[in-house]
C-alpha cells in the first residue's frame, strides 16, 4: 500500500484533474467566454489524455513495481509501432523489425525489472545496433542501407531505450526505504514533464514574434520556453517534499525540474522535426481514434535518461 505522502501527491494531482475537467465543462457550455474554441478543445483533449496517463499510473503503483515496468513496456511497444509505421521501411527490413519488436523491446524492460543496470544501459545502443545492421545486410537489400538502419535504431533508442529509463527510476537505491518514495520519484518526474509541456504551451499564448525555430514549430516561442521553464522550476521546488531530494536539498528538486523542462523541450522539437520530414502533423493523424501515444510522450522520452542519470549521480555523490 502507499504511504500518506504518496497518496497526497497522487490524490492531489487527481483532484487538480477533476477541477480541470469541471473548468473545461463550464468553458464549453458557455459560448460567451470569449476564449478561442480551438484552445478549449486542445485543453479538453489534453485533460482527457492526462486522466488516462495518471489514473493508469496510479493503478500500476497500487499493484507494484513489476506492474509499473510492464505498463511502460506496453507504452514503449505502442510508441514504437507508431514510429515505425510512419517510417518508410523496405521488405528487406522485415525480419530485423520482427526482432526489434518482439525481442529487444521486451528484453529492455525485463532487464530494467531485474535491475541489471550494466546490461540495460548498453543492450540497445550496442547489441541492438549490431544486430539490426547485420540482419538487414543478411536480407541482401543494400539500397539506402545506412539510412534504414539509422531509422530503425533511432526508433528503438527514442521509444524503447530512453523511455525505459523512466521505470528504471524505481530501481534506484534511495536513502529512504520502501515502495512509496520510489513511486513518488517516478510520479514527480512524469508530473513535472507534463506540467512543463502544458506551461510552455500556456506561456506561448502570449502574443510574440520571438519564435524559436519557425521551420519546425511555429508555436514555440522564447516566452513560452522561458516562462514555462521558470514556472515549472518553481513548482518543482515547492514539491520538494515529494522527492528523495529532501532535507536541505530543496534546491535539487528545482534544478531537476529545470533539467526536465529543458529536455522536454528538446524532445518536443526533435519529434516535431521527424514529423515535419514525414509530412504529418502528429502521430495521431495516421492512427485516428487512438490519439498519438508518441505525441504525448515525446518529452518524457528525452527527459527520462537525463533525469535518471542526474538522480543516480546525486545518490552516489
Amino acid at each position: 500500500m502507499l504511504d500518506p505522502r504518496t497518496l497526497g501527491l497522487v490524490g492531489g494531482v487527481l483532484l487538480l484533474l477533476g477541477a480541470a475537467t469541471i473548468v473545461v465543462h463550464v468553458l464549453r457550455s458557455r459560448s460567451d467566454s470569449g476564449l478561442d474554441t480551438a484552445i478549449i478543445e486542445t485543453f479538453r483533449l489534453r485533460v482527457h489524455a492526462w486522466w488516462m496517463l495518471f489514473s493508469v499510473l496510479a493503478a500500476a503503483f497500487m499493484i507494484g513495481q513489476t506492474a509499473t515496468v510492464v505498463l511502460f513496456g506496453l507504452i514503449s511497444f505502442w510508441a514504437l509501432r507508431e514510429f515505425i509505421t510512419l517510417t518508410p521501411t523496405r521488405p528487406g527490413d522485415h525480419r530485423a523489425l520482427f526482432w526489434v519488436f518482439f525481442l529487444f523491446t521486451p528484453l529492455q524492460f525485463v532487464l530494467v525489472g531485474m535491475q541489471m543496470y550494466g546490461l540495460y544501459s548498453i543492450v540497445i545502443p550496442v547489441y541492438g545496433f549490431l544486430f539490426v545492421s547485420a540482419r538487414i545486410a543478411m536480407a541482401g537489400d543494400y539500397k539506402r542501407f545506412l539510412e534504414r538502419t539509422a531509422k530503425i535504431q533511432a526508433g528503438l533508442l527514442i521509444c524503447v531505450y530512453c523511455l525505459s529509463h523512466a521505470p528504471a527510476l524505481l530501481t534506484l537505491d534511495l536513502p529512504v526505504d520502501g515502495w512509496g518514495p520510489k513511486a513518488r520519484l517516478l510520479f514527480f518526474f512524469v508530473l513535472i514533464v507534463q506540467l512543463s509541456d502544458a506551461l510552455q504551451y500556456a506561456w506561448a499564448q502570449i502574443p510574440s514574434k520571438h519564435v524559436i525555430i519557425p521551420a519546425i514549430s511555429p508555436t514555440r516561442t522564447w516566452e513560452g520556453l522561458l516562462g514555462g521553464t521558470a514556472s515549472v522550476t518553481l513548482i518543482g521546488a515547492v514539491l520538494w517534499w515529494a522527492t528523495p531530494f529532501q532535507g536541505s536539498h530543496w534546491w535539487m528538486a528545482a534544478v531537476m525540474s529545470l533539467v526536465i523542462a529543458l529536455m522536454g523541450f528538446a524532445g518536443g522539437i526533435t519529434l516535431s522535426a521527424i514529423k515535419r520530414d514525414r509530412g504529418v502533423k502528429d502521430y495521431g493523424t495516421l492512427v485516428e481514434g487512438h490519439g498519438g501515444v508518441l505525441d504525448r510522450i515525446d518529452s518524457i522520452c528525452f527527459a527520462a535518461p537525463v533525469f535518471f542519470h542526474f538522480t543516480r549521480f546525486w545518490l552516489l555523490w
Partner: protein
Amino acid sequence: MDINFTRDFLALLARFLSGASVRWIDSQPDTCQRVYFANHTSHLDAIVLWSALPQRVRTLTRPVGAKDYWTAGRVRRYMADRLFNALLIDRTEIKVHRSPVDLMIRAIGDRYSLIVFPEGSRSGGQEIGEFKSGLYYLCKRRPDLEMIPVHIDNMNRILPRGEVLPVPLLTCISFGPPIWLEAGEPKIHFLERARQAVRRLKEI
C-alpha cells in the same frame, strides 16, 4: 463456447493486434446487401477487413477465400467454416454452372454481403494489380448490390508475401462510397473504375 462470443472475441483481438483505425469516407456501415472489394497484399487482409465492420454487419458478411489456402490445416478450416462463415472457391477446378460468380450469388441469397479481393492473388508491391472480371459479372447478375471499395493500408508491411512472422505496425482501413455498374458500361471500363475507387482511398 458460444460461437458468437468467439467471433466477437476474435474480431476484437484482430482489431487490437492490427491497431486498425477504421475510416468511413462518404460512406456508412449498413446491413443492406453489399460487396466489399479491397486490395490484397496479405493473408490477414480478410480477417482485418471483417473485424473492422460493426458487429451487426459483420455477422451478415462472408469473406470469399481460396479453398486451397483456407482448408490447409485444422485451425484455418475452423476459422473459415465456423468463425468467418467464409465462402471458399476452388481455384484449381472451375466448372460450368458452378463458376465462382454462380457460387457467390447462390451463397448470399437475399441476406448476406461479401468480401472479395478482385486482384485474385496477393499483389507484391505498392501498386494495386488489375482486377479480375468476376466483380463485373457479379454486378451484372445482381445490379442491386452496393459495391463498396475498401483500401487496406500497410498490411504489405505487416505480413508481406513469403513471410511467416508479422511485424506489428498500425493499419488503416478506409471504406469508400458505393459504386454501381452503369447501363452498357464496358467490362474493362468498369473494372478500371473499381480499381481507381480503391486507389483513391489511399490518397485521402
